[in-house]
């Protein structure tokens, strides 16, 4: 019924626009900014029950608009199939790489899809959407029972940090980050065994290893100059390893002088030394991440700072016997606040549900289905990535890189770091500080200059009223 009326309305409106458009173009000047949809459109609600705790209405349409990137979108389609058979409908599915450009007009017209995977290079600013009240608070989902074990709530099975990752300065969780990424320095176990190297624990050991590798014609590190923030995966987490979580949180909170501390100095100087000793693969500054990974899988460089997606992404060029492994953060030594074994890991791939969609309950239900054992197993098996569900990878046969990441995460225990500056202040981290890092690694500026300029950039962001601010709670 509802869709019938809407269609007729839409037709009428289209005809009206057509009539008006020809004689007078000026009427259209408000077009790009006008509100298209009704503010009080009908929301599909059903009766809540044990099997349907979120109250999804049977047969109500649901629209999913998802990022189809490195992970593909088959894992979402698999969850949609379950939704379809349970609720007697067919989810309208769109998979695209251009999430932002396609979703922006729909948000502007108040006709967003119900369920979105807001990821990729062209994603919409999740924080800005949350601030504008466009996103549904997913707390009901967190309080709902899981599909596999009705005695457990969804929030009980998520890996620590997942809920925080979806919060933007308040208790409300606006995004469920489905994939869990372990970051670190990735290397080939085969290469290390063959050369008799061991993974370095301290800066000094890393530099010594660099000299050995250089003698063997292999660079210690490579990085993609096209995306210099890859280096931050290691660097910022190292600030936290050396100086403790408070140092990292102060940076995230844009506190005055947060970067002008000894821990930061020690880490940045290490990178300055690596650059001065030419331990980065020559030409790294002009490479894409694919070119960088290709050099690395050809054993031209020993280590790359990367996330656990690298196993999937570099698969086309990775030799079968590469034996991928990830090392925990290299630090200053025993004086560090956090021990060796500390890792940087965070939930990623943010799924959001529109606050003013037609079927918000359905959007949340689809997420609940995705968190079930059957779907997380499917995700981990096919995409070779961990999910945000605790122990979901237990008992599965994991690929070498994933097994290594899973083990590193387990060994780290509570010593898991997450630099929120990377998702709270994307431009600041990726581009402004990224530019400085690119210059640091090519020896154009020294550590002192990096710290001075990076602090200046943080201060400028803090003062910029157009940037929404967040704080650790």
């Amino acid at each position: 019924m509802g869709s019938e009326i809407n269609r007729r309305d839409a037709l009428k409106r289209a005809m009206a626009v057509g009539l008006v458009a020809i004689p007078s173009a000026s009427v259209l000047t408000a077009c790009a900014t006008s509100s298209g949809g009704d503010k009080n459109k009908p929301v599909a609600t059903g009766t809540k029950s044990a099997a349907n705790p979120l109250g999804v209405k049977n047969g109500a349409p649901l629209e999913a608009f998802v990022f189809k990137g490195g992970f593909g979108d088959d894992y979402i389609k698999s969850a949609e199939a379950v939704y379809n058979s349970t609720y007697g409908t067919t989810v309208k599915h769109t998979g695209t790489q251009a999430i932002g450009p396609k979703l922006q007009p729909r948000f502007a017209n108040n006709t967003p899809p119900d369920f979105m995977d807001n990821s990729g290079a062209d994603n919409l600013d999740t924080a800005a959407l949350a601030k504008e009240g466009k996103l549904l608070d997913l707390t009901p989902l967190l309080n709902a029972p899981t599909i596999d074990d009705p005695s457990k709530k969804v929030s009980d099975v998520l890996i620590a940090g997942t809920v925080q990752q979806g919060q933007f300065g308040s208790q409300a969780m606006y995004a469920l980050n489905y994939a869990f990424t372990v970051y670190g320095s990735w290397y080939s176990n085969k290469l290390f065994k063959e050369k008799g190297w061991t993974y370095p624990q301290t800066f000094d050991e890393a530099i010594a290893l660099g000299a050995k590798a250089k003698a063997a014609g292999i660079a210690l590190f490579t990085y993609p100059g096209k995306y210099p923030y890859y280096v931050h995966f290691d660097m910022f987490a190292q600030f936290g390893k050396v100086g403790g979580k408070d140092v990292l949180n102060a940076i995230d909170d844009l506190e005055d002088g947060a970067l002008q501390v000894d821990a930061v100095k020690q880490v940045v100087q290490y990178y300055e030394e690596l650059a001065a000793k030419k331990l980065f693969l020559a030409g790294s500054e002009g490479k894409t991440h694919i070119q960088m990974q290709t050099d690395w899988t050809k054993y031209k460089a020993a280590l790359v700072a990367d996330g656990s997606w690298v196993e999937n992404e570099a698969a086309p060029t990775m030799p079968k016997d590469f034996d991928l492994a990830v090392g925990p953060l290299v630090g200053g030594g025993p004086s560090d606040k956090l021990p060796f074994g500390t890792v940087y890991a965070a939930a990623g791939e943010p799924f959001i549900v529109a606050a003013n969609g037609k079927n918000p309950a359905g959007g949340m239900e689809l997420l609940r289905i995705m968190l079930s054992k059957k779907q997380t197993d499917n995700f981990t098996n096919t995409i070779k990535s961990l999910t945000c569900v605790q122990g979901a990878a237990d008992g599965l046969t994991l690929t070498p890189g994933l097994a290594s990441a899973s083990a590193a995460l387990k060994a780290a225990g509570d010593n898991v770091l997450n630099a929120r500056i990377q998702d709270w202040y994307v431009k600041l981290n990726n581009e402004t500080i990224g530019n400085l890092t690119a210059q640091l690694l090519t020896g154009q500026i020294n550590a002192a200059k990096w710290i001075e300029q990076a602090q200046k950039a943080c201060d400028a962001t803090k003062k910029d009223s157009s940037v929404p601010k967040f704080k650790h709670v």
Binding site: P23, S34, A108, Y227, G283
Partner: protein, 308 residues
Amino acid sequence: MRHGKYRFIIGFLAIPLALYGTLVISPFVQDFQISLTDWTGLTPDKHYIGFDNYRKIIHDHLFWQSLWHNVLLLLIVPIVTLAFGLFFAFMLNVGGRRKGSASVAGVRGSGFYKIVFFFPQVLSVTVIAILWQQIYNPDPEEGVLNVILKDVGLGSLTQSWLGDPKLALACIMAVMVWANVGFYVVLFSAGMSSIPTEIYEAALLDGAKRFTTFFKVTLPLLSDTVATGWVYMGIIAMDAFAFVQLMSVNNGGPNEKTDVVPLLLYKTAFRDNSQYGLAAAMGVAMLVVTLLFAVLTLRLSRRERIEF
């Protein structure tokens, strides 16, 4: 009857003018309207904030730097592209040795060259950018350009190309020239073929060499076509968005040395906290610069026409 004539004219003009008004004029007006607001593009509501956005971009050093890069592109890319286009078109149509009865001919194999030059034109910008990204790969064993340099004994000239702040913009300019030159070869070839051969024959009788023929005969008679090409190339240079976004490191890097206003606008609107109002103000600034360029070019190139 007069009445009927006007009705006739209006009848023909109404639809094109309405389309022009809707699709060309109204976006400009809307852009200006948005530039006076703090709109985020995510909600239907927005607030008017006067000229704050303009004040902001006037004080933004990154905006001026990006605009300067656009100006550099505007000065260099059209000149180089058109010069190559003219040179190639001349060689293909006029510059060859005379054979038989034909008084003007192109170099040998000119038909083949024409296809080769035109080839980049059929590729999409994305394909071109990805292609050149591989050519510019700094790796000494995989980067096409570096391998060639090494093989011909110029190993000392190998660079990190797009990763070098001094070279990156020039590298992107070279690709823009490569991608566009073919179109102008074809355009100028068409122009040259409409120049009567008698003029060339007269020049030859007077003993003019290729060089003189080009500057004294071909170029003056082609000036209208060149002026049109200039405006087109200028518009391409003012944009350059796709090339820079796809090829540059760190989105307009290294160290913002390749950023251009359209890319800055895109980042401001779609990424950096979704500031549509600010981005719209940049759009208005770009509109002004582009209009200035078009007016100046058309003014300066205005001259009397030779009928033939």
